[in-house]
Amino acid sequence: MSELTLTVMRLGFLAVLWLFVIVAVQVIRSDLFGTRVTQRGSRRQEARPQQSARQAAAPPQQRGQQSAGGRQRRGAPTKLVVSEGTLTGTTVALQGQTITLGRAHDSTIVLDDDYASSRHARIYPDRDGQWIVEDLGSTNGTYLDRSRLTTATPIPLGAPIRIGKTVIELRK
């Protein structure tokens, strides 16, 4: 075995050992700061500066199952907007996660509304990517357009969903 090959292997082995350490530290880093998916989300925020401030204030909704975003169809809603009520202007990016609404502290959108129940309604995509709203047995009911929901109902784009004094809708 030539001297050169052995030297290359010796140095290569040390490099591989250090590479392992670097990879391990990368894993620790992504454990600390969330996954790389989050960064892609923040790049999108820069593209829409008018909303970046609000979205930055609501980062938890953007983490997690963003891989589902890839299968969104054309014309599917991309965000949920609160158009009336105390939370007017809040947007939540729709990325395949279930959005819960209510006064409970762990809801995705915490409604500060005396007429809302703690777990009032949830909005989720079905298997085809169609967004569905479902009332969770609230006291005062959830309204889609003018009709009170009795079952899980698909949400047309732009249709107002009324919960107490709050109105939300899905937009592109």
Binding site: M9, V21, Q61, T88, D114
Partner: protein
């Protein structure tokens, strides 16, 4: 209010389990030792070593079994612990195999024992038992809090394990240190297992007693001095570790146990005074024993000035051996330089006795150089970091203390061995976790990693859905 202000939804999103990351790292951790194996074979014989495929497959099989068990029974566990341990174990196998090839060591074994047997296959078997132990811990220990029930049983078991080598007929005096017992044809080092059991006792005990130890104290010269009756446990542990030191002639084990206790006391009570007292007591003990026990004395001489002591020590004496080893080890590290001589091309087998166990780090130092030594220390550091991180993330005080105690013990062991081999502290007969040849050590350390993985699985598991808020206001009803 125009923004969503709550942040608790982080918990509601399903936490990533990181099992695929672990699998990728594991594959990497299996490939590196195979590469090293190839490296050694090419350097020594100039051809691809014969056992490479079998060895690589064996390691991959063990790693795969461990990974599947973690995936099934501890899905949220830390992704780094298993790959790091596998890598260290695999590298240990390669280094032991490399020393098996050394003509000098073969000649030495033939001269002393009349026959030479390879150590690497044995170590492979121990690794398999170690992985089995790891799997057993994960299968049997569904919740680490169960261990809390066995606090005082653990104390008794640990004491028995520690004192076993002193039982006549069972204990074996191997080269001065009495830390082995012989059962059947096997010699076992009960101290390695006592480490785990003792950590369970310390965490259970300190969890109950920490308030008394932390709060009931008087302030004196800037230090909080504990009450006399609270000093009882620390004095007992100190006495026991001194007894080990005196009767078993083992500096490392006693340092490890006392150090682990002081670390856990500090973590449990946040009182610096315990650390100060611990340091004072251990140095007092070390001075007393260092000036009386001859076995320890020769180690201290070899540490202070190995080259001078080699000249003055009477030939054939214990001290001459100790000094000779130390000089050879230092020469190994020195000739390794920054980049090392390359695997299989060093002369670290000149250390002769225990080259593949206590002094295996000298081989790393010579053949991989400073770069390799640093990377190995980083591997150990990362395991310890993940352990401490697990302790931080654990949700129950017992789990916190246990994870901290186990990683503290692991850290102390690495420090004692690496420090001893490099001449920072007197040499003690302990083994580098996972790297060195020795069944007890490998098996016990795999069990340690198993417990850490169990705690980290519990700690990183997403919290169950929160209970409905009890102080939620009543919902008003719209009356049309």
């Amino acid at each position: 209010m125009s923004v969503v202000t709550n942040t608790t939804t982080i918990g509601a999103i399903e936490a990533p389990s990181r099992r695929n990351t672990e699998l990728a790292l594991l594959a990497f951790a299996v490939v590196i030792p195979v590469f090293a194996y190839l490296n050694v074979g090419l350097a020594i014989d100039g051809k691809v070593p014969a056992g490479m495929a079998g060895y690589g497959l064996g390691l991959a099989l063990l790693a795969g079994v461990a990974h599947l068990v973690v995936r099934k029974w501890a899905p949220y566990a830390d992704p780094l612990l298993l790959p790091l341990a596998t890598l260290l174990n695999g590298m240990g196998l390669v280094l032991i195999w490399r020393l098996d090839q050394s003509p000098r060591l073969i000649a030495l074994a033939k001269r002393t024992y009349g026959a030479f047997s390879e150590s690497a296959p044995n170590q492979m078997m121990y690794s398999a038992i170690g992985i089995a132990m790891f799997v057993g811990v994960l299968l049997l220990l569904k919740d680490h809090r169960v261990l809390q029930r066995y606090t005082y049983i653990s104390m008794v078991v640990a004491l028995i394990l520690l004192l076993l080598p002193l039982v006549p007929g069972l204990g074996a005096d191997v080269f001065g240190a009495k830390i082995w017992i012989r059962v059947g044809g096997f010699s076992i080092q009960p101290g390695e297992f006592a480490k785990l059991v003792l950590a369970i006792f310390f965490s259970g005990y300190l969890m109950v007693k920490r308030d008394a130890l932390a709060l009931a104290s008087r302030r004196f010269m800037g230090l909080y001095l504990p009450r006399g009756r609270d000093l009882g446990p620390i004095l007992t542990i100190w006495a026991i570790s001194l007894l080990i030191l005196v009767f078993e002639n083992d500096l490392g084990t006693s340092l490890l146990f006392f150090g682990m206790f002081v670390i856990m006391l500090y973590v449990a009570t946040e009182r610096t005074s315990w650390v100060v007292m611990g340091l004072l007591m251990s140095s007092a003990g070390a001075v007393v024993v260092g000036s009386t026990a001859s076995h320890v004395q020769s180690r201290v001489q070899a540490w202070l000035d190995p080259f001078e002591c080699l000249k003055t020590a009477p030939a054939g004496s214990n001290m001459a051996y100790a000094c000779d080893q130390m000089t050879q080890v230092l020469m190994s590290f020195g000739s390794g330089g920054i980049l090392g001589t390359g695997l299989g091309q060093g002369n670290s087998d000149l250390v002769q006795f225990a080259a593949n166990s206590d002094f295996i780090f000298a081989t790393v130092g010579e053949e991989l150089g400073l770069t390799g030594v640093m990377v190995f220390l980083l591997f150990y550091g990362l395991i310890i970091e993940r352990g401490v991180r697990t302790a931080l993330a654990a949700r129950d005080p017992f789990g916190k203390l246990l994870a901290m105690g186990l990683s503290g013990a692991f850290a102390l062991q690495v420090f004692v061995v690496a420090g001893g081999v490099m001449g920072l502290i007197p040499l003690t007969g302990m083994t580098m976790p996972f790297l060195a040849y020795g069944g007890s050590s490998v098996i016990a350390n795999w069990a340690l990693i198993g417990i850490l993985i169990r705690i980290s699985d519990t700690a990183r598991r997403p919290a169950p859905a929160p209970a409905p808020n009890p102080d939620a206001e009543m919902t008003q009803v719209v009356r049309p």
